[in-house]
Amino acid sequence: MINWRGAYAIFWHELMRAFRTAFGSIIAPVLTTSLYFIVFGAAIGGRINEIDGIPYGAFIVPGLLMLTLLSESTSNASFGIYMPRFTGAIYELLSAPVGVPETLIGFVGAAAAKSLILAAIILATATLFVDYTIVHPVLAIGYILMVSAAFSLFGFILGIWADGFERLQIVPLLILTPLTFLGGTFYSIDMLGQPWRAIALANPIVYLVNGLRWTFSGTSDVNIWLSFGMTLGFLAVCVGIITFIFRTGWRLRD
């Protein structure tokens, strides 16, 4: 029997904790997105032709959204589990009637839920700067949900693996952000010549960005099924790692 009350308590506590620091969690992403739109959309975008028949401003909306989803999901989930490990407050979680499902619903669910709320805020902010349409809205929501969940799981793993604040920062900073920037956030990889195009295709983020872009505009640089497949595969790998972590108590129980 799953401890639903426990799962809900963790979920709510985590979500509220994340939003209690309102500036960091809501204003900052809105500000960042606005800056991107001003710089790339208005200033530079005016000099760039349409990409795949889409105005540049609208073209970067899914990419920017993906940028925020990845970094916010990862950092929220990783801090959510790292902090109690750091303070020792995790003792309570370990001694509570709380297992894998409760923990995932609570920590990963809260991080993903926060990302969804942020996604809505960012899309609303984007309407102030550019005209964009969402061709497949239901699929877009589904895709955002999937990516948020996947990277919240990833963040959770990161938060358990990290044994210092540096490590917690280093993966998003050194791996996630560069891959996202190079992953076709602000350009179509069709604009690249060889060998850069081939190299870009090895970047998994390319498939995530293009998957989301497809739900917005109906066009994509890569096979859309490959995008969905990669996202699901990433999700599955994360769930597998987390199951292993709980089985063995790795970094949680001595």
Binding site: H13, A96, P97, G99, R253
Partner: protein
């Protein structure tokens, strides 16, 4: 999180009756069904340090059990193994008659833990963190229950304060409030009075007594001998991962709780006068030192020493110095540890 089990857990448990009572080598057999039954529990940490070595321990329903031992004895490890913080290397743990490694989700609802360290999210508020604990343990919200817990620990006025704004003793009481928020039947207190002042310690003892009166079984660890002596029904002495002794607090005091009084006489006596024959006395130092050794830890020794003093005065035997000493639990404990170390 998940109740991680080791294969030895189930294996060595096979064939045992769930409620079989085969306690540790205690003088008095357990009188009621054990609420916690630990068999052959071992723990070797990753670095190779063995913190627990084949621990057998049975805790009776409704008792206060004090785990006494020096730094690094394995007290926290033992509690951690029961509460899910430490993965045992071997042995079995049954709580409420059920295997804790398989039925952990339902059993843990009934177990509360107050950790040794002040492990708290310092930016949270008192009431939020206590309500969170209750929810995490699967209980529906109950503001009245939380209020009464906070009031009983004198935290009600601080309910909206951030934890970082509280004093150390208050933080410790928040940890206790968190552990009580889901009304556990079995409560672990890992050094509850560390960092708590004398007055509050008295309060805390009283509250622990009240919990027990309501039927909560309590296992506490302490370095304060008087705490164990004052509160515990039974005491277990642990050192270097082994349980040295488990017995009724009173029985330990009865066995070993001696009073010794040394009277330095003005003029040495050749033999004990008849008037003093009823006391357990010895003449030492060529008759210049009259030594009383007696009592059973119940206060009888001190009374007899008082009587003896009067008898000496009545018999006109002058003494110029008097020293008395109680063998406290501390001495017993230190003696035990030394004996074991010699034997090893």
């Amino acid at each position: 999180m998940s109740g991680v089990s080791t294969s030895t857990h189930r294996a060595s448990r096979a064939g045992r009756r769930p409620l079989a009572i085969a306690g540790p080598p205690a003088i008095l057999p357990p009188v009621s069904e054990p609420i916690l039954d630990i068999r052959g529990l071992s723990k070797t940490y990753k670095g190779g340090l063995t913190a627990l070595e084949h621990i057998d321990l049975t805790i009776r329903r409704g008792e206060i059990f004090a785990l006494l031992g020096p730094n690094g004895a394995g007290k926290t490890t033992l509690i951690g193994a029961v509460c899910g913080l430490v993965r045992p290397s071997g042995g079995t743990i049954h709580a409420f008659g059920q295997d804790l490694s398989t039925r952990w989700r339902s059993l843990r609802r009934r177990i509360g833990l107050v950790p040794q360290e002040l492990a708290l999210d310092m930016f949270d508020t008192v009431s939020r963190t206590v309500n969170y604990s209750r929810g995490m343990f699967g209980c529906p919200p109950d503001p009245q229950r939380i209020e009464s817990v906070l009031r009983s620990l004198s935290l009600w006025d601080k309910r909206d304060a951030k934890l970082r704004e509280l004093s150390g003793g208050m933080k410790r009481r928040v940890l206790i409030a968190k552990a009580l928020s889901h009304d556990p039947d079995l409560l672990f207190l890992d050094e509850p009075s560390a960092g708590v002042d004398v007055e509050l310690r008295r309060d805390m003892w009283q509250q622990i007594g009240e919990l027990r009166a309501r039927g909560t079984t309590i296992i506490l660890t302490t370095h304060y001998i008087e705490e164990a002596e004052e509160m515990a029904d039974r005491v277990g002495v642990i050192n270097k991962g082994r349980i040295l002794l488990v017995d009724e607090t009173r029985a330990i005091m009865g066995q070993l709780g001696r009073t010794e009084a040394r009277f330095t006489l003005e003029t040495p006596l050749a033999a004990l006068p008849a008037a003093l024959q009823s006391f357990p006395l010895a003449l030492e130092d060529g008759g210049g030192l009259l030594v009383y050794r007696g009592g059973d830890g119940s206060g009888k020794g001190k009374r007899e020493v008082a009587d003896l003093t009067r008898a000496l005065v009545a018999a006109d035997i002058d003494f110029i110095a008097l020293e008395t000493a109680q063998s406290s639990l501390e001495e017993i404990f230190v003696g035990l540890v030394k004996n074991r170390e010699k034997a090893a």
